[in-house]
């Protein structure tokens, strides 16, 4: 019973860690380059969830002052502000990776890493 309670208490953190590892697993095991990019994004989401969970306060309100508020309990604003940055960075990296995949498909005709390695091995003696 105790264990279950603790799992429920820490579900955000556990979810973050699980997403991080699922993403890493996707990157490591899948040979499809698009799936690798998806894996990177899952990893990123895991880290962001973990970071945001640190700022959570139970019963807290969003950190915005409105008229007539007296001694409110706000959630921690810093993780939200930091992860805003993190999300934008993750978007930029994703777009760059996608553009590379487009070029790889145009030049090699495949987006599978194994086939790519085979093609590159055949073409190695370039000069």
């Amino acid at each position: 019973m105790n264990i279950l309670e603790r799992i429920v208490e820490n579900i955000n953190y556990l979810g973050g860690a699980a997403l991080f590892l699922i993403g890493l697993h996707t990157v490591v095991t899948h040979t499809n380059l698009i799936k690798k990019i998806i894996g990177i994004n899952i990893m990123g989401t895991g880290v962001f969830l973990f970071f945001i969970a640190i700022g959570n306060i139970e019963g807290g309100t969003p950190p915005i002052w409105l008229e007539g508020m007296e001694n409110p309990i706000f959630v921690n604003p810093v993780p939200s502000a930091l992860i805003l940055t993190g999300i934008v960075v993750s978007v930029s990296v994703t777009v760059y990776l996608l553009s590379l995949v487009i070029r790889i498909f145009q030049t090699y005709g495949t987006i599978d890493q194994k086939e790519l390695a085979e093609i590159m091995e055949q073409e190695v003696p370039h000069d």
């Binding site: 953190y13 604003p77 502000a81 805003l84």
Partner: protein, 100 residues
């Protein structure tokens, strides 16, 4: 076989991480160590020091504005990087037309 092995490794990693998380200071209330003087200062003085009632905006655009500058630079970098990869079509005869 290899796949199962990798999966087992990841499951073990998850249990290590989960075990670590159970001993971390994860309680979601204001006694958490991350809810420290800095955060209290932001909440109490943001309106006075920055004039913004949205504390997150005050942190993003004032207290930690240099981070935000850094990430607008990341966006700019992304445009330049994507532009440098997807510049002109690859076929030789199309290259002439699309030269800027």
């Amino acid at each position: 076989m290899k796949k199962i092995l990798i999966r087992i490794v990841f499951i073990i990693l998850f249990f290590i991480l989960a075990g670590g998380i159970f001993t971390m200071p994860t309680s979601p209330d204001i006694s958490a160590p991350s809810y420290n003087d800095t955060v209290r200062h932001y909440i109490d003085n943001a309106v006075e020091e920055t004039g913004a009632t949205n504390v997150v905006a005050a942190v993003v655009a004032d207290y930690r504005a240099f981070d935000t500058l850094g990430e607008t630079v990341v966006l700019f970098t992304a445009i330049v990087a994507v532009g440098s990869v997807l510049r002109v079509p690859l076929k030789k005869d199309e290259v002439e037309i699309h030269h800027e």
